[in-house]
Amino acid sequence: MTVPVVLGCCAGLLLLAVAAGPVARSRHASPLIYGSTGAICLLVCIAALTGGDDALVLPVGLPWLGAHFRLDRLGAVFLALIDLGGTGASLYAIGYGRHEPAPRRVLPFFPAFIAGMNLVVVADDAYTFLFAWELMSLASWALVMADHRSADSQRAGIVYLLMATFSALTLLLAFGLLAAPQGGYAFADMRAGALPPGRAALVLTLALIGAGSKAGLMPLHAWLPLAHPAAPSHVSALMSGVMTKVAIYAFIRIVFDLLGPTTWWWAVPVLTAGGTAATLGVLHALMERDLKRLLAYSTIENVGIVFIGLGLALAFRANAMPAAAALALTAALFHAFNHMLFKSVLFFGAGSVLVATGERNIERLGGLTRVMPVSAACVLIACMAISALPPLNGFASEWLTFQTILVSPALPQWGLRLLVPAVGTLLALAAALAAACFVRAYGIAWLGRPRSACVERARETDRFSLAAMAGFAALCVLAGLFPGLVIDALSPAVQLLVGGRLPSESGLPWLSIEPSADRNTSYNALMVFVFIVGAATTGWVAVHRLGTSAVRRAQLWDCGYPGLGPASEYSAAGYAQPIRRVFGPLAFRSSETVMMPPPGDLSPARIRKHLHDQAWELLYLPLCDAVLALAELFNRFQFLTIRRYLSFVFLALVGLLLALTLWQ
């Protein structure tokens, strides 16, 4: 009974999308549409969490196949994730949508986007899957084009739709391999059929490329930092927090479910891709000044972390180590869920800042904590969570990932044994850099003194947006304090995919989590939290007992130079400089040129930094140039004389006749 409900809800969402077009002009349209979207999402979420497995075939789609829909535990997990995110985004949008300049370009596509993502998860045959997949891409493309007058949006839209089509076609090829020549497009048939190793590896590659480009793995990420920021903020939250997870779902579905038994070396590309994405993504984020682009890059990092978990799961699965595989997969899923939570909050916060100040460049922000205290608190929690700090949820999932890495010496293959620690180092590097990145982002944008006048105008955002942010921030804290509950909720899906599961965590004393029974390594977020609070209060009480609690507000001391304006504050670029010096030459082929005025000249010295996005310069631009050069070359054929065209016909004829004579 679950699938019909979900399908009904999707139909409802699509109806909303259709209805939204005409009514978008009216003032009540946006709250109405967003409100009902959120309600439907909530309904689906509940249905996914409470309902059981079930399947359904509708007589549409591919004629002789019909549209297969099915919900298993994996689907349920992602369904819940998607619609939780959808609910939050809708709630946020009820308030945020008021500031939308062109609602007609957003309202119709928002519900359609969510419907598409839901359909992807419940689809049970290749046609329906890709249909929903492309629907999702198309709707989100339209949302990216919402601000269609800006050249950036147009560029983003072009690149995004092209890459989305690329990923869809790649997945299509993968399904083509999985479906035997007689065209068994239903997932059930694919599971039944077994592929020779070569083809299976090809399918893995295609799935990694197809799903990876949608999820934002390097170097297929190029569209992501363009498209996510271009969309309205609640949509950015959905794209970053939820749509990337749908891509991850696609990878899991194909590789873990449809593809059958795995070979150990499959883990190698996945792990490498994950590690690269995690490190490079966060390094890009560290160099970024645009708040939303920064968040988009950090999405790449988190996707990389998830893929590290998936790669480990593959490795253990191939070596028939279900317990370890379960640990890895749980870590991956858990982190996906967490990322949805805190990335949504961060994009909501960015949206609120954008509304309040009209500014996305953090170099012009600062001191927002005083004008927007509640948002500041929520965003701070999200920042700490994404930086994997205990006792919040980000740390819980990364801790599980590390535990998996510590199991890796048990792997029989040397390659993996040596690769996994390296990847672990990359993971630790990514975590530390993420912390640096979000200290920078939060410290520059929200703390300090206002860097431009736009901050003075700023006001705290409306209550719907605050409710959405506060709700998700609270969820971050809860998921951090009670990771056992989440892990147990994930277990059925994990059990389904790798045939093993983590020991039930809810039974353990004081809700601590213990990844594996044999090695008694455990972590208890709740206890750590209690300790911290206790310590802090003790400290506070003690201090105020022992010493004075007198406070004098005074001007900045600033090492003896008071009264310097905000211009003397540390800039975002300056903050990133040490890290750029360390990692830049490798990651961006970065370089700095300092232009010193000659002695006696009072003009300021200038420093210019050069960064290169290597993915663009080594992959995309050459490709574009090649295509354009070919186009230029072929374009000559537009201007020939009829006689020349006739001679083409003549040559074709003679050539074919010759070929025929030689053939026979």
Partner: protein, 225 residues
């Protein structure tokens, strides 16, 4: 009437006529004066008419006489006259500019004949010798006609090339004994040729097919940027 002709004799005549057609096509290639070309073209059509008539006589297929008549009247008389007028009216100068030298085109034509024989003869064991000959030679006529269209830079000679191509096809059609709709087809073709000639008149296409008015064209072809 007819039909009492001994088979081999019929074959010889048909063979001779078809061969003559190929020869004439080669001669067309060889011409470098427009009027001479037009004369050869008329001759070509005449021979075609003869061979069609011969087929009609031999296989006693009266409807083929219509085709022969068309070939004779329309292609051997009217069109050549029209072309002469055109050369006169449009003041096309009498030389034929070739893209490739005549000698080379002749060689190419020889090669094409060889090719067409090589293509056709092996694959037509099934059919009777007359059709076999006709079809093979017809193909070479077609190819030479096409070759002429591509190697001559002059509207008239290109029309001539197209006509010889089309003659070859009619030859093939008549050679394939008992083929229905031959008449309709030859009619349709005549219409086609009429269109071409009219078109040349209408649009004053002097030198080459592809210039109606060169200056006007550059503007519209200007997708260079």
């Amino acid at each position: 009437m007819g039909a009492a002709v001994p088979h081999d004799f019929a074959f010889d005549i048909a063979h001779m006529l078809a061969g003559a057609l190929v020869l004439l096509s080669l001669m067309m290639l060889y011409q470098d004066r427009l009027y001479a070309l037009i004369n050869v073209l008329a001759l070509h059509a005449l021979v075609l008419a003869l061979s069609v008539a011969w087929q009609a006589w031999v296989h006693d297929a009266p409807h083929l006489y219509i085709t022969a008549g068309i070939a004779l009247g329309f292609k051997a008389v009217i069109i050549p006259m029209a072309l002469r007028r055109m050369v006169f009216r449009l003041r096309v100068h009498r030389e034929i500019e070739t893209v490739v030298g005549t000698g080379l085109t002749m060689l190419a034509a020889i090669a094409l004949i060889a090719l067409s024989l090589q293509v056709m003869l092996p694959v037509t064991e099934g059919v009777d010798p007359v059709s076999r000959e006709d079809i093979a030679l017809a193909l070479s006529v077609v190819l030479i006609g096409l070759l002429m269209m591509v190697t001559r830079q002059n509207a008239v000679s290109q029309v001539a090339g197209f006509m010889s191509l089309e003659n070859g096809i009619v030859l093939a059609a008549t050679g394939a004994q008992g083929m229905p709709l031959v008449v309709e087809i030859s009619v349709a073709f005549s219409v086609l040729i009429a269109f071409i000639v009219i078109g040349i008149f209408l649009f004053r296409i002097r030198e080459r097919f592809d210039t109606v008015d060169v200056e006007a064209l550059d503007a519209f072809r200007g997708e260079r940027g």
